[in-house]
Amino acid sequence: MTEWTGELSLSLEDRGGKTVARNVYFQGAFKVMRPIYHDDSGKVCYYLLNPGGGYLDGDRYRMDVTAEPGSRVTLTTQGATKVYKTPKDHAYQETMMTLKSGSYLEYLPDPLIAYKDASYRQKNIVHLEHGATFLYTDILTPGWSPDGGHFAYSSVRLTNEIYLDGEPAVFDNVRLSPSEQQVGGLGFMEGYTHLGSMIAVGEQTTDGLIDDLYELLAETVEAEDVKYGVSRLAVPGFSIRILARSTGKIEKMLNVCHKKVSQEWLGLTPASLRKY
């Protein structure tokens, strides 16, 4: 059995229009802060925290979140996920999310920064019941190295498996291995340095929403600075990919889309998740 470096388990339920924790448990180098209500909508926001400040050689993290029927929750991190060099074994994070019918869960972690010679794997496994809504974003940066060079990390792999009523709905497997690939070339990062993604699954998805998102993105940034695409999933929902040259650009673009989706699907304008 895996020895977890940090473990967190959280279940949320709706209590008279307000989402509250039914169960919170964490141990080791993983922590969740007190719940925050940004407005009077009843939607709750939890900040995840890595007290160690970053992931180290061979670290194993596990998170398990359940959203009971009708609950609405934002999960985010308190700062960038940093992965330091992993000379012996890669660092790993596994997140299981279960969304019951009528629940809304958004997982909006800060950017991932992999340091020189770091290897990291992340796996999100999401089970949705019919009528649940899930929204996820991530930002993969070119990492950090002492000489300021890009892509000095060894390998980063981000996997998302999403199931709808037990059936495969989305499978997303991205790996950048600067140690093996020409990551800058055509077909890969194509001269860009940052990769942003959003995946949303919700029955409310329409073609009109996809058009609106395209338009919003076009208004938000200068076309020459970024490359982006939006497309409908095999199930009701959409994915967005963005190639850019800064975290800020991607955050801005993802925020605009998040705001639009939140307004359309929840009737809420999201609060700023400002953290510093």
């Binding site: 997303d172 991205v174 790996r175 055509l186 077909g187 890969f188 695409g229 199930v235 190639l243």
Partner: protein, 228 residues
């Protein structure tokens, strides 16, 4: 042996009426933006497409289908088909791949009465799995008595010769230039087929971000001669 060779040559013909003719899998986006404009830039795109998309998606899928066929596990074949479908995030490429899979299944089903192919056809009809070219090709190649190495390699060859024909029309390139490209890419097909056989399951569906983005962007490309 000779008859099997002839049968495979037929399946690899880029004129095979499967609908692949209408899909560029994002290449057209690069052509429209000017990033692909001649043989050199096309081969750069093609190399990436082969060593990434074909290796991690079609290649691993072919290997998994062979495993399933040897165990007689039709359920596993359904699972692979459904995973192939949902890992294809760009809508046009997903729908196009499905259409080509359907076209191949219709045609191959008329050409051969292999029991696994018939059974697979039934599962598709019952909507238990989404048809995919790699799956149809692997099942048919298995029926013809091919090894898994051969199945993957021939599937790659069939796909790539079709893509080259599309590039010849769209960029455009000369017919001879297209054939020269096919000649040059052959060693890569061999290498990639070998690589794909050894890749672990966890590498299934790994995407190259740029390729995938170009496939998403194709939805908004103004002048289009391809459906994806």
């Amino acid at each position: 042996m000779t008859d099997r060779m002839l049968a495979l040559l037929q399946l690899c013909d880029s004129n095979l009426p499967t609908g692949a003719f209408s899909h560029s899998f994002g290449l057209e986006t690069y052509i429209q933006s000017g990033a692909v404009s001649d043989c050199v830039s096309f081969e750069e795109w093609l190399s990436c497409y082969v060593s990434e998309q074909l290796a991690y998606t079609d290649g691993i899928a072919c290997r998994m289908i062979y495993d399933a066929l040897e165990d007689g596990e039709m359920e596993a074949i359904c699972t692979v088909g459904n995973q192939l479908h949902v890992q294809n995030l760009p809508r046009e490429t997903r729908q196009g791949t499905r259409m080509i899979g359907e076209g191949m299944l219709r045609l191959f089903g008329r050409l051969y009465d292999f029991p696994f192919l018939a059974e697979y056809g039934l599962l598709v009809k019952e909507k238990r799995t989404v048809p995919h070219p790699a799956v149809v090709f692997a099942i048919t190649a298995h029926g013809l008595g091919c090894s898994r190495d051969e199945a993957i390699l021939y599937h790659f060859y069939a796909t790539v010769s079709g893509l080259i024909q599309n590039a010849v029309r769209a960029i455009p390139l000369g017919q001879t230039a297209g054939q020269l490209t096919l000649n040059r890419v052959r060693p890569l097909l061999q290498q990639t087929a070998e690589k794909a056989l050894a890749l672990p399951d966890e590498d299934f569906g790994l995407v190259a971000p740029g390729l995938e983005l170009s496939q998403m962007q194709h939805e908004r490309v103004n002048v289009r001669i391809f459906m994806s």
